[in-house]
């Protein structure tokens, strides 16, 4: 469903993404891991064009996203994105945050949109907070609302950019549980994260990145037991202490 072909990106003279090649199939859960500064976030942000690429192609559902006549807003409406810092809209209530996309982008009626918002908030366990303002919620709760907001786009794929990195440890679990449920329901997910236990449990494939390169692209089992690249081995050794 999402395909990287020889993707390169530079920040001024820094080679941020080096010849990335990879494919994510429908229904797959791909976890992207690696040391800090390896380009994981940059890579995932190129998929919905929050970052541009210098060369190569990225295809989403077969369509090359760098085509001149690609409607950026339509493309993004079809991709759910969950940010590290949630980025909920503080001036809108929880349910307004979730219903915004269906109303403004999909053109649904308010009744339909709020009905869907109710369902999604129920799914992430926050129906009771639907009239609250984001500022009144904990970090974990805000992130779950952010996931519901992404789901409201009814996207075929959701991208997660370090969704639990900004959370206090005791709240990480509640967010990961929601993500596990989504995976079990068959959602296509690409997840940049440091949560290796989550990866071991849920991921179909692991992409290991270091210094802008995609070094490992294997099944989850294979990665944890027989990672071939020495940097991957070092990474695993470092994190499993």
């Amino acid at each position: 469903m999402i395909k990287f072909e020889n993707v390169n990106k530079w920040y001024k003279t820094y080679h941020a993404l080096r010849d990335i090649n990879g494919e994510v199939n429908t229904g797959e859960v791909v976890v992207v891991c690696g040391p800090s500064g390896s380009g994981k976030s940059t890579m995932i942000r190129t998929i919905n064009k929050l970052e541009d690429i210098a060369s190569g192609t990225i295809r989403v559902q077969g369509q090359c996203i760098n085509d001149k006549h690609v409607n950026i807003n339509q493309l993004r409406a079809g991709i759910g994105f969950v940010f590290q810092h949630f980025n909920l809209f503080p001036h809108l209530s929880v349910k307004d945050n979730v219903a915004l996309s269906p109303i403004k982008v999909a053109g649904q009626s308010k009744a339909q949109a709020y009905e869907m918002a109710d369902e999604l908030l129920e799914k992430v366990g926050l129906y009771a907070k639907k009239d609250d303002m984001p500022a009144n919620l904990s970090g974990g709760q805000q992130q779950r609302v952010a996931i519901a907001r992404a789901l409201a786009q009814q996207p075929p794929v959701i991208l997660f950019d370090e969704p639990t990195s900004a959370l206090d440890p005791e709240m990480v679990g509640e967010v990961l549980n929601v993500m596990k449920k989504l995976a079990a329901d068959g959602m296509t997910m690409i997840c940049v994260t440091h949560e290796m236990n989550f990866a071991r449990e849920v991921a179909d494939r692991i992409w290991f990145m270091d210094q802008g390169e995609l070094l490992e692209d294997t099944t989850s089992n294979a990665f944890f037991t027989q990672a071939t690249h020495e940097r991957a081995q070092k990474f695993l050794a470092d994190i499993i202490h």
Partner: protein, 231 residues
């Protein structure tokens, strides 16, 4: 002093109303409020234009801001006094000439306040909105402006104070406001000019100091709210 105030107090406050057009301090406030309100839509265009991704819009907006912040208000008033009757092919009352001049003048400052307000939002807000598929204008109107406007209120209030002070020059083209009233009183009294002008100064002092104080309190309140939210 008491006699002076009781004789001329009303003249300072409302000019020769109800026997004539409204003037004095009321005239000042009406002029300032009207001009600032009319300048707002223009300022919105220029302010958002300053952050536009389209080069030509961004450059034109920047030019507008730099030009109208570098020219004294008096020059703009002279321009308006000269150009408006020629363009509109009819006589323009001094009040409306003054309004036009002040609108153009203030639009540049207001535009910068709006730009500042928009740029002070966390970048993640615009990212999240665009990541959802919201277009430029949708993002601007549903996400950026509602948040930015409430942050801008203290600055807007301060700009209103500046505008009130700026109106004091328009008496030179015959607009009926506070300074004009002071001149009229002077030509009646012929002595005690210090007293006349000090009373004029006091009127400005009280209203501007009051509004500035309110703006400062609002700013403190907003900062506290923002810090409280972040915690």
């Amino acid at each position: 002093m008491y006699d002076f105030i009781s004789t001329y107090g009303m003249m300072f406050l409302v000019g020769s109303w109800p026997g004539g057009p409204i003037g004095g301090f009321a005239g000042t406030l009406i002029l300032a409020a009207l001009s600032l309100t009319a300048a707002f839509p223009i300022a919105m265009l220029i302010g958002t234009g300053r952050t536009s991704e389209i080069g030509i819009i961004r450059h034109l907006s920047t030019v507008w801001v730099y030009v109208f912040r570098s020219i004294p208000l008096i020059m703009i008033i002279f321009w308006a006094y000269f150009l408006l009757p020629t363009m509109m092919k009819t006589e323009i009352p001094p009040f409306w000439t003054a309004v036009s001049a002040i609108v153009i003048y203030e639009s540049a400052f207001l535009a910068e306040i709006i730009r500042g307000g928009l740029q002070s939002l966390p970048a993640g807000q615009v990212e999240a909105a665009r990541a959802m598929g919201l277009g430029y204008f949708q993002t601007l109107f549903t996400i950026q402006l509602p948040q930015a406007l409430s942050n801008m209120i203290p600055s807007l209030l301060n700009q209103f104070v500046s505008t009130i002070k700026a109106t004091s020059i328009v008496y030179i083209i015959g607009v009926n406001e506070a300074a004009f009233s002071a001149q009229q009183i002077n030509s009646i009294e012929l002595t005690g000019t210090l007293r006349t002008y000090l009373v004029l100064a006091m009127f400005y002092f009280f209203i501007c100091a009051l509004l500035s104080r309110v703006a400062k309190m609002l700013e403190a309140h907003l900062t506290a709210k923002r810090l409280g939210q972040a915690a």
